[in-house]
């Protein structure tokens, strides 16, 4: 099984005021990831009681979650605890981050279960 990967990311963000004032920022980078075991991706139902997205990695991870629900938001957290949220995603919204720690990634649905699109990839200490 492959254990070495190349991860490429690019992000573009812009904010516009009704006055016509607008600002944007963007970024792109690449990671060479070697000797890892956890590569998870797909779609997942998130329960109101919480659902684990990624078990604790050895060193760190890159994480993406997109809320595919039409109505309810979902909270993504480092622990099984909504107070430790790192993202609160309204329908259609997504987030991406890099964390070089050994915490798990959990998600908690509000009101009713939601489906998310996601990836969670372990990274090594040199990435």
């Amino acid at each position: 099984m492959a254990k070495n990967y190349t991860f490429n990311a690019s992000i573009n963000c812009s904010a516009t005021s009704s006055t016509g004032y607008s600002q944007s920022q963007s970024g792109a980078f690449s990671l060479n990831i070697t000797g890892i075991d956890q590569v998870q991706t797909g779609r997942l139902d998130i329960a109101t009681g919480g659902t684990n997205i990624m078990e604790a990695p050895t060193y760190g991870k890159v994480v993406y979650v997109r809320n595919l629900d039409d109505t309810n938001f979902v909270t993504v957290s480092l622990l099984d605890d909504a107070d430790n949220a790192i993202a609160i995603l309204e329908p259609g919204e997504w987030f991406f981050t890099i964390l070089r720690d050994t915490n798990v990634i959990d998600a908690i649905a509000d009101t009713a279960a939601v489906t998310v699109e996601y990836f969670a990839v372990e990274i090594d200490s040199n990435a």
Binding site: A2, K3, N4, Y5, T6, F7, N8, A9, S10, I11, N12, C13, S14, A15, T16, S17, S18, Y21, Q23, S24, Q25, G27, F29, V39, T41, G60, Y64, R66, F73, L78, A82, D83, N84, A85, I86, A87, I88, L89, E90, G92, E93, W94, F95, F96, T97, I98, L99, R100, D101, D110, E117, F119, V121
Partner: protein, 138 residues
Amino acid sequence: MATMSTAFTASGNFTLTDENGVVVFTYSPSFTSTSNTTAQTLYTGEHLAQSGGSELALTDVNDDRVYVFIKNVDTDYPVEVEASESEGSALEMADLKPGECFFTPMELNSDASGSSIKVTASTADQKVQYLINDAIDN
């Protein structure tokens, strides 16, 4: 009374390729928020993240959800991003090596104890660029 109305758009492209050249996944998400008629901030700029930690100027933020994009534009050391004081111990949102960036719709005030973003450089001060915009509260 004047009001501020803003809309936010975020798009990305993420690809993982294995050592054999097989594309494991590609995602290209995008969304545009509805107009937030209660927005109070649209901040962008460059900030010197200090090794002892420093805070982005968010005193007028709407104290709840915000869209946050931050990029480490320096060349030497990582920068840690935290939702300052959102918990008893600061909650880490991202660890960015030089050139890396992240984006998240995040809540800064989950337990009503704080509403700012803290950036901390390791070893020596590092520059970050950021775009922060009030989001509609969930």
